[in-house]
């Protein structure tokens, strides 16, 4: 057991307790949480900062609004319905097709109008929100998988999670939906996380349910060696996320749309730690390295240069 602790220390693996006390509690002021916990406000912030986001089609705030659902949706046959205060991808409904009043999830399962209304009603009454308080429901553009990522995903859009510390993107992974995750790119629900080299944007090993994997469980595709498109732009958006939110320890989720390129999906004030398994690298050592230089303000370009230099794979010893 002691041995295990030594290995984790040597790898610089960040534990939950240390993340909570040394990073989240210290670098993320509580008053800023509402900015990122409410996806509507996040979207607004990003838009104000001139960052690309998936287009917002509609917002439902009351049970009464559900009656107007048909009007709000219009003729759209591809969209995403999600609670503004949801966490961990809970409650997200991805509609990829439609036949009159019957919608189809990315898995192909049909959802009729009543089911959709019930689901939205649950969201509004706070079933998926963190504190169980009343919530708002967003209907937004359904991102189309970029061709480069298509072989890697199973009925859903992969996203890219970056951990940004004091404006320095320190670690990244792309999350690939699986059959198990029902099209959602969330590790808790069975998506595969694949480590991404900060310097090059090329994929490394994967993590599924906290275990190392090297192939996609559904497609059998090798996970390593794929290069993410628009990687520089993604890094820049991530670095800028710090200035937008003011959160020192930040998780940023970005999706790459086939037509629109990288779009900011959401921010997370308590990003998870499985990213370390995907990258087979510890966060703590990288965070400490950033801490040692971050007292000097630096431009985004300079910060990214630092990250490319120090967080490339393999790590320079």
């Amino acid at each position: 057991m002691n041995n295990g602790v030594q290995h984790l220390r040597r790898l610089g693996v960040l534990g939950i307790n240390s993340r909570n006390v040394d990073y989240i509690r210290r670098f993320n002021p509580r008053r800023l949480y509402p900015l990122v916990d409410d996806k509507l406000r996040t979207k607004q912030l990003a838009v104000e900062a001139g960052m690309p986001v998936p287009e917002l089609f509609a917002v439902l705030s009351t049970q009464h609004d559900i009656r107007d659902l048909t009007d709000l949706l219009g003729a759209r046959d591809q969209f995403v319905v999600k609670p503004a205060h949801g966490s961990g991808g809970n409650g997200v409904l991805v509609i990829k097709g439609r036949r009159r009043d019957v919608f189809f999830k990315s898995s192909g399962a049909p959802v009729d109008r009543d089911e959709m209304a019930h689901h939205i009603s649950n969201m509004l009454s706070g079933l998926y929100s963190l504190g169980g308080q009343r919530d708002r429901v967003m209907v937004e553009y359904c991102v189309q998988t970029a061709e480069a990522l298509a072989p890697m995903s199973y009925r859903g859009v992969p996203d890219i999670r970056l951990i940004v510390f004091q404006g320095y993107p320190v670690m990244a992974m792309t999350r690939l939906p699986t059959r198990l995750s029902d099209g959602r790119a969330n590790l808790h629900q069975g998506a595969v996380g694949v480590g991404v080299d900060i310097a090059t944007g090329s994929s490394l090993g994967g993590v599924l349910d906290n275990r190392c994997v090297s192939e996609h469980p559904d497609t059998g595709q090798k996970l390593a060696g794929m290069v993410l498109p628009a990687w520089n732009q993604i890094l820049e958006m991530a670095a800028e996320g710090y200035e937008i939110t003011g959160l020192g320890y930040l998780g940023i989720d970005i999706v790459i749309d086939r037509d629109l390129g990288p779009l900011i999906l959401e921010f997370n004030a308590r990003p998870g730690l499985s990213i370390q398994i995907a990258n087979e690298a510890g966060l703590q050592s990288r965070l400490e390295l950033v801490q040692s230089i971050s007292s000097e303000p630096a431009s985004i370009v300079a910060r990214l240069e630092f990250c490319r230099q120090h967080f490339a794979v393999p790590l320079p010893k």
Binding site: V5, E115, H188, N210
Partner: protein, 507 residues
Amino acid sequence: MSRVPLWISAGLLAAAGLALIVYKVVALGYPLLPDVESRVWTVQARFTVDSYTRPVKAVLQLPSNPPGFVILDENFVSRGFGLAVVEEEIWREAQWAIREAAGRQTFYYRAVVTPDPSVQDADTPGPVVIESLGEPFETAIETIVEQAQAQSADITSFTTEVLRRINDPDPDENMELLLSRGRSPGRKAEIATQLLAKGEVASRVAYGLDLRDGERRAMFLPYLEVWDGSSWHWYSPGSRERVRPENLFIWWRGGRPLIDFVGASNPEVEISTWRNVLQALEVAERRADLLDSPVADYSLLRLPIQVQAVYKVLLLVPIGAFLIVLLRSVIGVKTFGTFLPVLVALSFRETRLFAGIVLFVLVVGVGVGLRFLLDRLRLLLVPRLAAVLILVVLALLTISILSHRLGLEIGLSVALFPLVILTIAIERMSIVWEEVGPTEAIQQGVGTLLVAAICYQVMSLDSIEYLVVVFPEVLLILLAMILLLGRYTGYRLLELFRYRDLIRRDE
């Protein structure tokens, strides 16, 4: 971030808690463990006199600050007599009086005492008074004292020398003269005080009992108490050794008789001693009372019994909370909700562990199943919760009735589970099941039961319950530990499992 304020707060809290506990244990004698029994003695003086339709007054010498003992309780019994207790520095007496009484009168004095080595004779003697006995005794005393002084260096050796002469099997003519009035130990003690007074040493005769269990006719033995300038020492007048029998209970001092009376005759005295066993806690309480300690006045044990019963449970909740912190932050067990397991553990107190776990699994299992059925009806959140609540009540009732029909008493206690706890557990489990998957839901369910079982086991330890009720300041120490755990940034035990692939690849 500096941890100094944290360490200081935790240190202060722990120190305050510990200080209170130490004070209660050391100064007030609160036992640290439950069921510690304390040795307690009961001493009883019973005396009877005949009275003849005249005013009767009877006086009994009472124990007065007996060294090495604390009097916890006293009772006086007589038939119709008025009682006054008169107290001076080194003596105390009970005075019973009645205008008219006929026949045999019986008086009782009973005291409950407990040994306490910290109680010492606190009085200091006044100037030594020499009574003149007249010749030829004066000359004899002077001669003996001169000889004894010549062969001694200090008070101790002078006392030893005096006692040696008194107990000489072949006394010289001076001592022979003094002993001519009697050679009883009481008389010898009296002679010793006279000789010591002549040598300007303060001394007095004390009458004590050797406490023995079941003694019906205990005898008072005279002892010589000698002041050596800083404290009193006991000598047995029949030898020249310093004595301090462990069970010596000094009853009264000075030349007074044990009983004295006017208007009556034919006295009979009977002293009994016996040992009994009292809960150490009770003894400590009474003693704290005698010491007028505010700690005892503001003790939880002074609250009405029914309020105490509530606190017995309430004070255990922090123990559960502490275990939760430990199990979550250090071990990393996942549970439904933060403190739900503590509430479940409290329910286990009613149902017992095994029955509790079986019934909890049963009700939550049925509840989650019904909750999924309800889900198809597409209810809003609050009505759905209410519906689950009703179904849970029906499930409880069904389990109770079925188990009763089957003759299983175990199912009856299901009604002791608080409804709301079950409903919350069902709702949480359903959501996790639906959103994250059955594996996670079952993991968290098992985690909840495991943590609840551990909390229950710890909370139902007699010593833990005793500790928090008698020493609620334990909670301060607990708080200090929780503060420190709140800044524990090491790995959780289960993280070693989570990162097992990283560890393996590093090896």
